[in-house]
């Protein structure tokens, strides 16, 4: 359900469309030492996330592959640019903040956070059925970093 007055073009901002068309780090990472596959069985979206983590826990490189809607793909692309160079711990905190923003549990304009450019996805919270699209790559990253499961599903 969406609030009336919200417009599709608020959700599909230029930057998001541009990331969808030209996703960053859209590659299989040969040097990866962490990997996970994330699937949304309800819509068939699916992304593989490859991470190369150094001994001190820094994300040195990251890549992703897969297919999905504009929201899920742009989110995955933007995610890779935002977590590269961060520590595992910081990346996971960012995932939490991102998820909270979309669930309406964190107000990105009044509360402290580290989301930076990621706030451009705040429009997704008007579209509860699309929140899973936006968080799919993040859940996959978490699974890769924690090494608990090589395959995750939103359901």
């Amino acid at each position: 359900m969406t609030q009336s007055g919200s417009h599709a073009s608020d959700l599909y901002q230029q930057v998001i469309l541009e990331h969808n068309q030209k996703p960053r780090n859209f590659k299989v990472l040969e040097t990866a030492n962490a990997y996970a596959l994330g699937k949304n069985p309800l819509c068939g979206d699916q992304f593989a996330v490859y991470v190369s983590v150094s001994d001190d826990g820094t994300i040195e490189d990251i890549g992703f592959q897969g297919m999905g809607c504009a929201i899920s793909k742009a989110c995955a692309s933007m995610m890779t640019t935002q977590v590269k160079g961060k520590t595992k711990v910081d990346a996971l905190q960012l995932k939490d903040e991102f998820q909270k923003m979309l669930l309406g549990e964190l107000n990105e304009t009044t509360e402290a956070h580290h989301l930076g450019k990621l706030t451009m996805f705040s429009g997704v919270k008007q579209y509860p059925v699309r929140v899973k699209c936006a968080t799919l790559a993040w859940h996959t990253l978490e699974a890769a970093l924690e090494g608990k499961a090589s395959e995750i599903s939103t359901e």
Partner: protein
């Protein structure tokens, strides 16, 4: 009517036909604009605004909206007539039982079944298919046998058979789908053999709209001795169905897709088959007598209706069938065919649009893919303009795999939809194009 080969003006033929036929049939026509307007007024949901626009509801393949008559009938039943069925000796229960049983006869008439004893109430199409797959599947299937399904099936007509095969050692065999979304009849005939014990086939594909030539296929399957189940979830709401003319052994449909309430569906089964089948679920209402040593099961249909049924929903289904019968299934089919042609023409010309499912026999289901936007993004943007379509795999993942797409956007029509709504759909797709490609 004479089959004279002479060229004659059609009108003359019709006049002759009317004069010659003992009971003159009225000429069936699609609903007029005025009739559709008055029908739309019967559906309260249709008059609402979504995101600031009048709702355009094009997800009728998933579920249909409810006319006031159905809502009122259920409300009246709950406020004035409610009681349990088949159990109470008091007036309220007797009356509820009578109303409930009356719907069974009504459904029998709706499908032209030989007897109301051939009508089993289930929770829906899914439960009806599971019932047959368990009850008949378990006694009929042996290792080496085959269950034939088609590449167009909804998951509800795939998974129960996969499971039945896993339990019994039978093999699942699939009739392939051609590029236009119709079934490969040549391969079908080649697949039939004495090992074919069951053919489970959809009447109409929910994902593509293809209408299968079920009568011919049933005849061919019977010729090798197979039992045939038709998944009528997308058939019964859109055309008149005559199970005796089709000669199918089972036919299943869901109330919620025929303008009735959720939670109830129908399994039609030939009585001689139902009679030989063991119960699917057990408990109250389906027994003749119970001792701790032995239970005797009731005859069909009660044998297959364990527990208190969805009483009010069955009553609501009765009102829904009254409604569609009063509009007329033949007129519904013609009206929807007109909408299908109009919408197909309107959408086919749009740049970057690929129509999936172009069989010559189709119901008013348009499944499409845009080369510039994912179906979910289409769904979200259309919704912003008040246009509700389904985006996804439509519970038919093998169909999506067959056509090499992850999902499609699907507009599925009902006789209450209008030409204006097709225009709204087209302009909403234009908005998707504007957002994604910048062009208008």
């Amino acid at each position: 009517m004479s089959l004279s080969k002479e060229m004659k003006p059609v009108a003359v033929d019709l006049v002759e036909a009317v004069q010659m036929s003992a009971t003159p049939q009225p000429i069936v026509s699609p609903l007029s604009e005025a009739e559709v307007r008055s029908i739309r007024a019967d559906f309260p949901v249709l008059s609402q605004q979504v995101n600031g626009y009048p709702l355009v509801y094009l997800d009728n393949g998933a579920t249909t909206q409810k006319p006031q008559a159905v809502i009122d009938r259920m409300t009246r039943f709950y406020s004035e007539e409610y009681g349990t069925v088949r159990r109470g000796v008091y007036a309220l229960s007797a009356k509820a039982t009578e109303a409930f049983d009356q719907v069974r006869s009504q459904v029998a008439q709706f499908l032209n079944a030989a007897s109301e004893k051939e009508i089993v109430f289930t929770r829906g199409t899914t439960e009806a298919i599971n019932l047959v797959a368990f009850s008949l599947g378990n006694v009929l299937l042996k290792p080496g046998d085959q269950v034939l399904i088609s590449g167009l099936e909804h998951h509800a007509n795939i998974v129960p058979w996969q499971e039945a095969c896993a339990r019994t050692g039978a093999t699942l065999v699939v009739i392939p789908v051609l590029d236009d979304g119709s079934l490969d009849q040549t391969v079908f005939e080649g697949l039939l053999s004495p090992q074919t014990k069951i053919l489970a086939l959809t009447h109409v594909s929910n994902a593509l709209g293809t209408v299968n030539p079920v009568a011919e296929m049933i005849e061919r399957a019977h010729a090798v001795g197979a039992v045939v189940l038709i998944d009528g979830a997308q058939g019964a709401p859109h055309m008149s169905v005559d199970v005796q003319a089709l000669d199918c052994d089972f036919y299943a449909f869901s109330s919620h897709k025929v303008y009735g309430p959720t939670g109830v569906g129908v399994l039609y089964g030939k009585y001689n088959l139902l009679e030989q089948m063991p119960p699917y679920q057990t408990g109250g209402d389906m027994i003749l007598s119970v001792t701790f040593e032995k239970t005797t099961f009731a005859k069909p249909p009660a044998r297959f209706e364990a527990g208190t049924p969805a009483i009010a929903e069955v009553i609501g289904l009765g009102a829904a069938l009254d409604y569609v019968t009063s509009v007329g299934l033949d007129r519904i089919a013609l009206t929807e065919e007109k909408l299908r042609q109009e919408a197909t023409d309107a959408l086919s010309g749009l740049p970057g649009l690929r129509m999936i499912g172009t069989a010559s026999q189709k119901s008013a289901v348009l499944s499409f893919y845009l080369d510039y936007a994912h179906p979910h993004d289409i769904g979200t943007i259309l919704d912003q303009s008040g246009v509700a379509v389904r985006a996804g795999h439509h519970c038919a993942q093998p169909v999506m795999q067959r056509f090499g797409v992850p999902a499609t956007a699907r507009a599925s029509f009902s006789f209450y939809n209008t030409s204006d709504e097709i225009t709204r759909l087209v302009s909403a797709i234009g908005e998707v194009r504007r957002i994604f490609t910048g062009s208008v």
